[in-house]
């Protein structure tokens, strides 16, 4: 298990735990289909600790680095 941000760019992983992601963000991610068990991949990280874009099920989402670090994933 590792943080989403530790994943190799472009490789796929499965979301294991969203428990430490802030409540509102977790709900939004859940709305977008990113819940425990969803397959995600990291696409881009913007500089200076800027947002990171992830891909899940064909859709692209930008979230903050801090939140991405709180997402625990498992490499596939």
């Amino acid at each position: 298990m590792m943080a989403l941000t530790e994943m190799r760019r472009g490789s796929k992983g499965k979301v294991v735990d969203l428990g430490s992601v802030s409540m509102l963000v977790r709900r939004r991610l859940c709305d977008l289909g990113v819940t425990e068990g969803a397959v995600v991949s990291v696409r881009k990280m913007l500089p200076f600790g800027g947002p990171c874009t992830i891909e899940s099920n064909g859709q692209w989402i930008a979230i903050r680095r801090k939140e991405a670090q709180a997402m625990r994933v498992e490499a596939l």
Partner: protein, 667 residues
């Protein structure tokens, strides 16, 4: 007439479909959160009324625009629910569909973007989907209006709708649902839907139920149910449990009616994103894009056409009108009001129509292409530093067109504090009305650097907004976590028809304003400059206008434009910023732009002109904007604050720029 509610996830094409089904021209775009309030239209066959609602992922609202939809579903009882489903994201979309099925009213599904889904190798069988959901399913492509005729027929077919299917939530929860449902009195919405929404944590529904049951009872009921479920499963709470049951059901449905021919490959969107959200180039590319916008607006396209329009207005149109009035034997007074009032005032503003339409065309392009969400992403870090988030930049970009829709767009921002700050700061975005003032001044004083001077004003507006956001978020608004989650929709090439339509819809307001507000304002201003204490037709130096302008002139003296004409123009500019141009046209008693420009050259130096433009950029939101701030903040205090801080900041900055400019040897 039946009433039909249009509900669906954000950015699934609800408004496109609304426009196709009602022949309306409502605002469409390619990002989540274009529609922020409900809109009503009459169906093409005149047999029903269609209500377009803001996009939602579920019926439990997180933001203000989402609450509009939940409240509508709770207050009204539409005869038919029309659910737009994005076929390419069907799995996520069906979560909402299942909630709408529970609502208990006939459900019609418009399966949109089937072309996009098929492009990604996903084929959906509409007949099977229909049978599994207990809803009519019609495949459509809303952008090209394919399938809309069939959809219309299905909506208005009376009594032909199947009964929506139910999800089985397991014996424990079903028992709880039944218990609550039995206590809810008969009413237009299904009790099961209310019970489920309540158990899912929908606060709007919970508030509504509190009018029926004691709050403590409801809370106890919720907690008992939650602990019962928690004892049996490993779910963290009821919302998660309910969501998982739905997800299972959706999986079954999709297995039965979907065919995946291939998994997707890297797309064009990805290649474009490599550039648009590039690590280092993201912000520079955005700035370059904005700079090119001003190049197009001023140097390459807008101004040349504007000049021709001006020549037409000040030449043939003015002389023609003058001759006509003379032939008709119109009184001197009438001649003066038409030529010196209306032609100078309204004509002075109308000549900027080409520039403004050019700007609107580019804003429409940003909205429709999908670039909007990318701008929000690359700006997030910068905005976070100022105590906001990247999404708050979307209202600001819309504000470049007009501040009023910009402030409305702030409804999509989830956190109340960030939303308030966005509402307060969006008026600092330089809108198209201010563009007409800049156009006039750069044409006189900065002939060879038009685009860069105007660009600097736009950037100044953004920089001031960010600096104030930082200040306000530290002092005024209490601390609250910031959040940023934004969907990046696939890019698409905007259709010319959509671009032309949304440019016209935005620009129309400007032209209409010229015909009504500015027309009336011009007559009034002319009257003030034509009359004085001594009566009618006084020299302008003895007019009421001069008296008014002289009142504020001394205050403006330190900023470099202490003449009464500037003072009068600024006061009237509160009505609408274009009125500044009208007022100057009337005061300097010219009917053509060319001679107004010559006259201006006598009253201002370039540095004073720049200081004046900075003041115009910042000084107060216009009347319409103040109105919308009042409505959106629902607070007189914040409305006054928005006017007050803007005046102070405008004064200090114009002063600073003028004084430092003088020290540096500019004039």
């Amino acid at each position: 007439m039946i009433s039909v509610a249009l509900v669906g996830n954000p950015n699934t094409g609800k408004t496109s479909l609304f426009n196709a089904l009602t022949r309306s021209y409502e605002y469409v775009g390619n990002w989540a959160g274009v529609t922020v309030e409900k809109k009503v239209g009459v169906l093409l066959d005149k047999r029903g009324e269609l209500v377009d609602l803001p996009g939602v992922y579920s019926l439990s609202p997180l933001s203000k625009d989402e609450a509009v939809t939940t409240e509508y579903m709770l207050q009204s009882a539409p005869d038919v629910v029309l659910n737009v489903v994005d076929a390419s994201q069907i799995e996520r979309n069906l979560h909402l569909t299942l909630q709408l099925a529970e609502y208990g009213h006939p459900l019609v599904i418009a399966l949109n973007m089937t072309d996009v889904a098929e492009g990604r190798g996903l084929k959906i069988d509409p007949a099977r989907l229909s049978a599994l959901l207990g809803a009519t399913v019609v495949p459509v492509i809303a952008r090209t209006e394919k399938g809309c005729v069939e959809l219309l027929q299905e909506i208005v077919q009376p009594g032909a709708h199947p009964t929506p299917a139910k999800v089985d939530y397991g014996p424990l929860l079903e028992a709880a649902i039944a218990k609550l449902e039995a206590r809810i009195p008969e009413q237009p919405r299904a009790g099961r839907w209310l019970a489920l929404q309540f158990l899912e944590g929908n606060e709007t529904v919970a508030e509504w139920l509190k009018t029926l049951f004691p709050a403590e009872w409801l809370e106890r009921f919720y907690r008992t149910t939650e602990s019962d479920i928690a004892a049996q499963t490993n779910c963290r709470g009821l919302p998660q449990y309910i969501r998982e049951r739905r997800a299972e059901r959706i999986k079954d449905i999709l297995e039965a009616c979907c065919q995946r021919t291939r998994t997707e490959s890297s797309s064009l969107s990805e290649k474009l994103d490599a550039l648009a959200t590039h690590r280092w180039l993201g912000i520079p590319i955005f700035l370059l894009f904005m700079y090119l916008t001003f190049k197009l607006t001023f140097d390459w396209f807008g101004t040349p056409i504007s000049d021709r329009l001006d020549a037409l207005l000040s030449g043939p149109v003015s002389t023609g009108l003058a001759r006509l009035l003379q032939q008709l034997g119109a009184a001197d007074f009438i001649q003066a009001v038409v030529l010196n009032g209306i032609v100078a005032g309204v004509g002075g503003v109308l000549v900027f129509v080409p520039q403004i339409f050019m700007l609107f065309l580019i804003i429409s392009f940003i909205e429709d292409s999908g670039y909007m969400a990318r701008i929000a992403t690359v700006m997030d870090k910068l905005m976070e530093g100022a105590g906001l988030n990247g999404k708050t930049f979307i209202p600001m970009i819309i504000g470049f067109g007009c501040n009023v829709p910009g402030i409305m767009a702030a409804r999509t921002i989830e956190q109340p504090r960030e939303r308030l700050l966005t509402i307060l700061l969006t008026p600092l975005m330089s809108c198209s009305a201010r563009l007409s003032v800049y156009s006039l001044f750069v044409g006189v004083f900065f002939q060879s650097h038009k685009a860069i001077i105007v660009f600097s004003l736009y950037v100044l507006g953004v920089v001031v907004a960010l600096a104030l956001a930082k200040l306000f978020s530290r002092t005024l608004a209490r601390n609250e976590a910031s959040m940023f989650v934004v969907e990046l929709p696939p890019y698409r090439i905007p259709q010319w028809k959509t671009l032309a339509r949304s440019t016209w819809e935005k620009g129309k307001g400007f032209v209409r304003k010229a015909g009504t507000f500015i027309f009336g304002g011009s007559v009034l201003i002319w009257l003030l400059s034509y009359t004085g204490i001594r009566g009618w037709n006084v020299p302008i130096d003895q007019s009421f206008m001069r008296a008014i302008g002289s009142g504020v002139a001394p205050i403006l003296e330190p900023l470099g434009f202490g003449n009464w004409q500037a003072g009068a123009a600024l006061i009237t500019g509160f009505l609408a910023k274009e009125v500044v141009v009208s007022t100057m046209g009337i005061i300097y008693a010219t009917s053509s732009e060319a001679s107004l420009q010559q006259t201006l050259g006598l009253f201002f130096t370039p540095l004073q002109a720049y200081s004046f433009m900075v003041f115009i950029l910042l000084y107060v939101p216009c009347l319409a904007t103040v109105g919308v701030i009042r409505k959106e903040t629902n607070s007189a205090k914040w409305t006054w604050f928005s006017v007050g801080y803007a005046l102070i900041v405008a004064y200090l900055l114009a002063l600073l720029i003028y004084r430092v400019g003088l020290l540096l040897g500019f004039h």
